[in-house]
């Protein structure tokens, strides 16, 4: 669905002459980004999606997404231009833009400076940078996190099977097993003033 782009070296858009018709049509979905540590699919800033997004690769959202986002084995980054109005399920979630909806991560949620997040966060590790804006709840009780993530995984599996039977799921992935060991928030204590 999305173009894979290599992280780790600065890349630019490939020239139009090298693109297929399909690539031209979905060009905004295929803009290249750079980063470190592997391939990332990108939803460009001009793209609006209403519905369920599901996949098994890292994704960066710079456009508008409403509905549900499920990347259970992967990392989701909501970029500075990204606006997500959805329940989000991923291995790790990093927010630089705006989200409205609950964020579930089996490993970590990071809310960066100037991000705006409204909803609940359920993850073993949560960090919110000074200057980020957050309204909602953060579950820090390991037992409650495990219960919430377990329930989410189970209910989603049931939903996936039901949808598959109905024939409306094109890409069904194996559900990851949630493992929750550490429920402490990461610590970045503020600098002291004399």
């Amino acid at each position: 669905m999305f173009e894979r782009v290599k992280k780790g070296d600065d890349t630019t858009e490939s020239p139009d002459t090298n693109r297929t018709e399909s690539e031209k049509t979905f060009g905004s979905l295929r803009s290249k980004v750079t980063g470190r540590g592997g391939d990332v699919a990108v939803i460009g800033r001009s793209i609006q999606i209403n519905g369920d997004l599901r996949g098994d690769e890292d994704l960066r959202i710079e456009g508008d997404v409403s509905g549900t986002v499920e990347l259970r084995n992967s990392v989701l980054t909501i970029g500075k231009e990204g606006k997500v109005k959805a329940g989000v399920y991923a291995k790790a979630i990093a927010v630089d833009g705006e989200t409205k909806g609950d964020l579930y991560a089996t490993e970590r949620v990071s809310v960066h400076v100037n991000a705006r997040v409204q909803g609940n966060i359920i993850a073993p590790k949560v960090s919110i940078e000074e200057g980020a804006h957050f309204k909602g709840s953060i579950e820090m009780d390991p037992a409650a996190i495990e219960k919430a993530l377990g329930k989410t995984t189970a209910s989603s599996t049931v939903k996936s099977v039901a949808q598959k039977k109905a024939g409306n799921v094109a890409d069904t992935k194996a559900e990851p097993k949630s493992t929750v060991k550490d429920a402490s928030a990461s610590v970045n204590p503020p600098a002291k003033t004399a």
Binding site: E130, M140, D141, A183, A185, P189, P190, K192, T193
Partner: protein, 207 residues
């Protein structure tokens, strides 16, 4: 708008951004039982330091950030009654069934609310709180002025608080008395109070 919230002439901030000791806050956080689950309502902005502090025990933290998300204006402009109850519900994070609030951190936000708005808000919070719940607040008391906007108060490693807000304009502080607060905290009653070195008064209320 009540007279006590009128704009004062622009001048240097009445409270310089230095750490100050808040013993009631310190005792409150230090006394959290790490083996028990606590539900904490934070009316201020989220901070990593506060999350780290609360993360030492089994907490669910509900963050309202009244200042940034428009809650203060909304509460001050809404008359007490059903409309106020709706407004309070919309500005407070959704509650989990059976998860009653144990602790409320009001920070310096009561200074920016009218007594009516404060009363309505604490009544709404009281409906979500369990008996014995505690509410902590900081009130401008000695100084006549306060920052134009609520502070961004963050706990320090040594148990103090520091205000990271960068606003420089000042407004007149309402300087609510313990009697004013006693009548405006809903079913929360005054438990302890301390005058701090920075001129603020620290209050602990019990439900």
């Amino acid at each position: 708008m009540i007279a006590s919230l009128r704009r004062a002439s622009s001048r240097a901030p009445p409270v310089s951004p230095v750490a100050f000791h808040a013993p009631l806050f310190h005792d409150l956080v230090a006394g959290l039982d790490a083996t028990e689950r606590h539900v904490v309502l934070d009316l201020g902005a989220a901070s990593t330091a506060m999350l780290a502090l609360l993360g030492r025990s089994r907490c669910r933290v509900e963050i309202a950030d009244l200042a940034h998300f428009g809650g203060i204006d909304q509460l001050n402009k809404t008359e007490l009654g059903p409309a106020f109850a709706n407004a309070a519900d919309s500005i407070l994070p959704k509650q989990l069934p059976g998860d009653a609030i144990d602790l409320v951190f009001c920070w310096d936000l009561p200074n920016y609310l009218t007594l009516n708005a404060l009363s309505g808000l604490m009544n709404a919070i009281g409906q979500r709180a369990r008996p014995g719940a505690l509410a902590h607040a900081l009130i401008y008391y000695s100084e006549h002025d306060m920052r134009e906007h609520p502070g961004r108060l963050v706990p320090t490693e040594d148990g103090g608080l520091i205000d990271y807000s960068n606003t420089h304009a000042a407004i007149a502080a309402p300087r609510y008395s313990p009697e004013d607060l006693g009548k405006s905290m809903g079913r929360f009653v005054l438990d302890r109070a301390r005058l701090l070195s920075n001129g603020m008064q620290e209050f602990l209320f019990r439900f």
